[in-house]
């Protein structure tokens, strides 16, 4: 089969699986998951064949695998659908295929396949567990299978279809189709346990928030289509004439060029989908869904799609920009938004106790990294981080799911009433869940950028050096700080979860998950380490040049400009070394040996307080090294909030301080300003709605008469003012 034909076939199996499961096999759970697994496997296989052929093709960026057919005739032209595999889609396809397959396999174990159905399980609620009589007549509690098992696999198949479609397509229209299908699927999957109030709220929040971005993106697409008459990537992005015209023509808004305006509109779509400030509020709540869904949304598909879009549109966003020169308006916006988000979310992550919520904020932060990288023109680095992040974040989410599973087992076993997701209730899981521990450790080290070994180090290092080379010191410092915090909260998470002694009886009785859950962890862990080796920069001391920097050459060939080698400097390298190792060590030192189930924040009284305080005084050096830059952040963002607490903050040291800062950002900026603005908009809408309600007679004809009257009025106005010609 030709590569083009294979590429067409990549998205199809999951779509077929969706229909098969929904229409035919939904009563048979085993058959349903086999259909979904085989479909994901076929897509994976086709994806891998295409990947291998693509990487062995010379000059792929000039001559991508591409094919298109007319779809909707629109008068003289027609909207086309087609496929295109160029270097960027190749690498994205690679990680999407792997993570999707792993998540599918993992879901089988996660939803307790093979376990009996629980007596009290209801549709729309997480399974509560079943009681089984052993031979001796003793009743034991075991996990029970998800009641809507087939439904889950159907939806997640549709989700995978949308992502594959988005990756292989060659134009914005089908990309938008995939984009919106993912929006729908995320809505359905976040609210998978729809009987939970919080899940229902989260699903609506996710849908509406991303919708804000989507509307702007659609405006951008419409503007692009009306100006160029095409939505094909090649015809817009690889065509210097079109780009030049767009960059040269002034749009009617704010004196921006059309390229800048369209770029910003498309970027707002990304802000919604990839959860950048200020549209990030949906993502932490999206943790209400089952964990494989979190992994799917946060690693493999949805948020990656947003970053993929801006990477794809980088030629347009940067139209008129020369490497080393002044950045364009969209790039400036991206640099600021990305760097701010990276730092902002990292501080919040420090204060979270829910194991998944830490990862959620961490995702936001890492996506901010990629956006900021694009903002300073580090194109290949952004794509590289997208790939490595997808692997290790999928690994971390699946690992956290495994932890929660183990904890739930412990909870069921001991009938203790604790939250199985709270890290303070864990501890010492290292011995109970060795596979999860080692893989989670690898993922965590990759996330924090542990030097030389992990993939995260290489990609993060490239972004930092890209930011440094661009000369944009604000972005560089913000990213370095965020990297430090990232390492800190990762160490905190690993320490609280796996190290030390169990802090609850449930944690003592936790046990390792089944192989269907651990196998994907192991596979992803391999990539979390290995994916980095494809992109070691050539000028890296010692290792550079041993392995060619394949990634940068491959993806960098997408941009048809020669990268200008800026001043070579070791500053970014040392920065990333220091922040990664320093943050990890700091987190470990602060949280090791925590015996009580209370975060240092909540220790207000008695001996516990003193114990912790002393521990922090031991770490005075670290505290002092961090407190000053953190203070600066605090003064800018949360002056009022910290006013009363800053003296205490200095006394109690960095850990407590970080916790406060994080909470502060969440409570002062996130909740009142961002959420508050949303709420007041909702309230005023509601007020208007209540007023208009009295005008609603319910008579359909009355509505139509009003509509037609307005149409006629508009027609008259146009007729008599503008005229027809």
């Amino acid at each position: 089969m030709t590569s083009e034909t294979l590429t067409w076939l990549i998205p199809l199996p999951p779509l077929l699986a969706f229909f098969l499961i929904v229409l035919f096999t939904n009563r048979n759970k085993a058959l349903s998951h086999w259909v979904a697994l085989i479909a994901a496997g076929l897509s994976w296989l086709a994806g891998m064949v295409v990947f291998i052929r693509a990487v062995t093709t010379e000059g792929l960026s000039e001559h991508p695998f591409a094919q298109s057919i007319p779809w909707l005739p629109t008068g003289d032209t027609s909207l086309k659908i087609g496929i295109q595999i160029d270097p960027l889609s190749t690498v994205v396809l690679f990680f999407v295929a792997w993570t999707v397959l792993m998540i599918f396999i993992y879901s089988v174990g996660y939803h307790n396949f093979g376990q009996p159905a629980g007596k009290h399980d209801r549709k729309g609620l997480p399974p509560e567990g079943a009681e089984v009589k052993e031979k001796k007549g003793k009743i034991i509690h075991v996990p029970s299978i998800e009641p809507m098992y087939s439904r889950f696999f159907a939806l997640i198949s549709l989700f995978a279809f949308a992502m594959f479609l988005l990756v292989v397509t060659d134009n914005l229209l089908t990309l938008y189709v995939g984009w919106e299908i993912m929006g729908l699927c995320s809505y359905l999957l976040i609210g998978f346990w729809y009987a939970k109030e919080s899940a229902r709220k989260a699903m609506i929040k996710a849908f509406l928030t991303t919708r804000v971005g989507d509307v702007f993106m659609l405006l951008g697409l419409a503007a692009l289509y009306s100006l160029t008459g095409t939505l094909n990537y090649q015809e817009i992005l690889s065509n210097p004439v079109v780009l030049g015209q767009l960059a040269g023509a002034l749009s009617p808004v704010f004196g921006l060029s059309w390229a800048a305006l369209i770029g910003i509109l498309i970027f707002i779509g990304t802000v919604g989908k990839s959860a950048q400030f200020p549209l990030h509020i949906w993502l932490p709540d999206a943790m209400e869904g089952p964990t494989p869904v979190s992994a799917m949304i946060h690693a493999a598909t949805m948020v990656s799609a947003g970053v993929y879009l801006v990477i794809r549109f980088f030629p347009l966003l940067s139209a008129g920009w020369e490497p080393g020169g002044a950045v364009t308006t969209p790039m400036l916006v991206m640099g600021i938004v990305g760097a701010f988000t990276a730092l902002f979310a990292a501080t919040i992550a420090v204060a979270q106790n829910d194991v998944k919520r830490v990862l959620a904020y961490s995702t936001i932060s890492q996506l901010g990294y990629m956006i900021a990288a694009l903002g300073v023109g580090a194109y290949a680095a952004a794509a590289f981080h997208l790939v490595t992040h997808a692997f290790f974040k999928a690994l971390l989410f699946l690992g956290s799911g495994s932890i929660i599973h183990g904890m739930e087992h412990g909870v069921q076993h001991t009938s203790e009433h604790i939250d199985p997701q709270n890290m303070l209730n864990m501890g010492g899981l290292r011995k109970k869940m060795p596979v999860t521990f080692w893989t989670f450790l690898i993922g965590g080290l990759a996330l924090s950028g542990f030097p030389l070994v992990t993939a995260g180090f290489w990609s993060k290092d490239e972004i930092l050096s890209g930011a440094f080379k661009s000369g944009n010191m604000g972005v560089f410092i913000a990213l370095a700080l965020a990297a430090l915090l990232t390492a800190f909260y990762t160490a905190r998470q690993i320490t609280l979860t796996f190290l030390g002694k169990p802090r609850t009886r449930a944690a003592e009785h936790a046990h390792e998950s089944k192989w269907t859950m651990t196998l994907p962890l192991v596979v992803l862990a391999v990539f979390a380490v290995g994916a980095g080796w494809s992109g070691i920069p050539a000028d890296f001391p010692g290792l550079g040049g041993l392995i060619p920097n394949w990634f940068e050459e491959f993806v960098g060939s997408m941009l048809h400009v020669e990268p200008v080698e800026a001043v070579h400097s070791l500053v970014p390298l040392f920065t990333s070394l220091i922040v990664a190792l320093g943050g990890l060590a700091l987190g470990w030192v602060v949280y090791r040996g925590l015996k009580e189930r209370i975060d240092p924040l909540e220790k207000q009284i008695g001996g516990l307080y003193t114990v912790l305080k002393n521990k922090y005084y031991v770490d005075e050096f670290y505290q002092a090294a961090i407190i000053r830059p953190a203070n600066w952040v605090a003064n800018v963002f949360t002056y009022k909030f910290l006013d009363q607490t800053i003296i205490d903050g200095i006394l109690h040291g960095i850990a407590r301080f970080g916790v406060w800062l994080g909470n502060g950002l969440r409570n002062v900026i996130d909740l009142p300003v961002v959420n508050g603005a949303g709420d007041s908009a909702a309230r005023s809408t509601r007020g208007v709605g209540m007023y208009l309600r009295s005008k609603q007679s319910g008579r359909i004809q009355q509505y139509m008469v009003i509509a037609i009257s307005l149409l006629v009025l508009a027609g008259l106005v146009i007729y008599f003012t503008v005229g027809i010609s």
Binding site: S694, Q696, S697, G698, V705
Partner: protein, 106 residues
């Protein structure tokens, strides 16, 4: 030898008559009939343009014919479903009068 304008004006008139019917008639069946008038007006336009373009190009134009066929199909489907809905609604609410179906009332 008829000017194109005559057809277009006649079609526009028929369309507006249908529109008036849709907006003002009480009975749901009546509304459906008015919709049929509007569809027919569109068809007159399409066939007139088919004639005009065939005359300009010299060969029979396919696209207008396809559109006319589509309008026929959609009209048939719409009437079938619409009348079924009316009968179903009539059975439940004992009235085909749209005015009395005010479930949408706020």
């Amino acid at each position: 030898m008829i000017p194109l304008s005559w057809y277009l004006i006649a079609a526009a008139a028929l369309f507006c008559i249908g529109l008036f019917g849709v907006l003002s008639r009480k009975n749901a069946v009546s509304i459906l009939m008015s919709v049929e008038l509007m569809l027919n007006a569109v068809n007159i336009n399409l066939v007139a343009f088919w004639h005009y373009h065939t005359q300009l190009q010299g060969t029979s134009q396919i696209a207008p014919q396809v559109f006319v066929a589509m309008v026929f199909i959609v009209a048939a489907a719409e009437v079938a479903v619409g009348l079924a809905l009316i009968i179903s609604a009539y059975r439940r609410r004992e009235t085909p009068v749209v005015d009395e179906m005010t479930l949408l009332k706020g």
